[in-house]
């Protein structure tokens, strides 16, 4: 009797384990679409600036590793069953709208048939060379931003343009009314200037909280990207930041981290 009970107990245990394993398999359906964050493609002494050579090497690795670059629009459409994604999709995003995104990054992307999403600061887009927005002019840390015509050329080349706010202020420090005006005006101004809807938003400094996310959603955006701590919902899509001197091997390891590395080194 003991043996029978023991055996049936063992069988029940095995069945339980099998059920748990199946449940685990169903839950562990793999990560979603990884989103990378780039900033300046230059030799600036900045932790977020990546050299042209390192950027080209990363793009080559992305291609050779079987990743297919897609836009956020395609990810959202696929999520709503309005389209499908290629195998191993990946989204490349650029924050801030530096001129080197157009001068250096665009040719490298186009040459490889790759696409990216550029988050530009609406009021930093100069109308012409005389009005180009430049920070720290004449210093080694000079930063030149896109002209409106360059942003249009990015869009014409198949790149996606999103909003990175009106003036690149940390939205979590602003009164909510000001945040509302900022996210709405940046969407309206960019849409009008580019002649196409601007549906995606990137929080300046990746700084966001629930009320800010709600205002971004209320402004009509379809989704927003955040930093490494993003929760994965539509208005807090997590991104992996690319830092200076990151080689393809570093990128590879950041694209598949263990949980402890992801938790300990978020963003």
């Amino acid at each position: 009797v003991f043996n029978l009970a023991h055996r049936s107990g063992t069988r029940a245990g095995l069945r339980g384990l099998s059920a748990l394993w199946l449940l685990w398999g169903a839950a562990a359906c793999g990560p979603g679409v990884p989103i990378l964050t780039y900033h300046s493609i230059s030799d600036l002494e900045d932790p977020y600036a990546l050299s042209e050579q390192d950027f080209a090497a990363q793009l080559d690795w992305v291609k050779s590793a079987g990743f297919h670059t897609v836009t956020l629009r395609e990810v959202l459409d696929a999520d709503r069953q309005r389209g499908s994604l290629p195998p191993n999709p990946i989204v490349l995003t650029f924050d801030d709208g530096y001129q080197d995104n157009y001068v250096k990054a665009l040719p490298l992307l186009v040459a490889r048939g790759q696409r990216a999403t550029f988050f530009v600061v609406a009021r930093f887009l100069g109308a012409d060379e005389a009005h180009r927005h430049i920070e720290a002019p004449g210093t080694p840390g000079e930063r030149r931003f896109l002209l409106l015509s360059e942003a249009r050329e990015l869009a014409a080349a198949g790149m996606e343009i999103g909003s990175h706010s009106l003036l690149h202020r940390r939205l979590t420090t602003l009164p909510l009314d000001e945040v509302r005006r900022d996210v709405q005006a940046s969407r309206d101004e960019l849409s009008a200037a580019l002649g196409q809807p601007v549906d995606f938003f990137a929080y300046p400094y990746n700084s966001e909280r629930r009320q800010v996310r709600k205002l971004v959603e209320a402004a009509g955006y379809r989704a927003a990207v955040a930093g490494g701590h993003g929760m994965g919902d539509r208005f807090e899509l997590p991104r992996v930041t690319v830092y200076r001197n990151m080689k393809p091997a570093d990128l590879k390891s950041r694209l598949a981290e263990g949980w402890a590395a992801a938790a300990a080194e978020a963003n």
Partner: protein, 204 residues
């Protein structure tokens, strides 16, 4: 010799359960026959842990944890009491777990499946008439690996916290600390990520 005798006496007392104590889950292994379920939420892990005391100095349990980076981490753990003196003690802890990404919707921080092992040393001091408040601290080392060089790492975690049993079998737990990769010299140097969790435990 006297020092060894004191240590031996402390070890011997570690094996004996004091029925008058509140038996908090953070105050070393649960006494033999006692079980506890702990629910906790925070950063980097949230989840549920079930433990049972198998000897007066040893307990073991199952855990299911997850993190907002988009992973689940089921595992097994055990604790052994090394020393006890009154309401205070020193405990060793070992855990093994497996973490894998879960369906995270649109986009996810890319988490790769890994196995990990964790070894920790915890000290606790009981306060109050029945040791109904436990102040504890733990340092642990964690090896997280997928058997490749690029995705294996050693991590160091230091946490401190407090557990309070306001009523019967229920207790409330709060802990805070830091998790960081072990290649950097000090746990107190900048970097790493905060560990902040709160939860409740029921003993039965």
């Amino acid at each position: 010799m006297r020092r060894w005798a004191v240590a031996a006496a402390l070890c011997a007392s570690a094996a004996g359960a004091d029925d008058g104590r509140a038996q908090l889950v953070t105050a070393g292994p649960l006494p033999q026959g006692l079980s506890a379920i702990t629910l906790f939420a925070g950063r980097p892990l949230s989840g549920l842990r079930a433990e049972h005391g198998f000897a007066s100095w040893l307990d073991a349990g199952l855990q299911l944890e997850g993190g907002k980076e988009g992973f689940l981490r089921p595992g097994l753990g055990s604790r052994a009491r090394l020393l006890r003196s009154g309401c205070s003690g020193l405990t060793a802890r070992a855990n093994v777990a497996f973490a894998a990404p879960v369906g995270a919707g649109l986009a996810a921080r890319p988490i790769t499946p890994t196995a990990d092992g964790e070894l920790g040393l915890a000290g606790d001091v009981g306060l109050g008439a029945r040791c109904s408040v436990s102040v504890f601290a733990e340092v642990s080392g964690l090896l997280d690996t997928d058997l490749s060089n690029t995705r294996s790492g050693l991590f160091l975690q230091g946490v401190a916290g407090v557990e309070w049993a306001p009523w019967g079998p229920l207790s409330l737990i709060a802990r805070a600390g830091k998790l960081r990769r072990m290649h950097t010299a000090s746990l107190f140097a900048p970097g790493g990520a905060p560990v902040v969790t709160g939860g409740a435990a029921v003993r039965f």
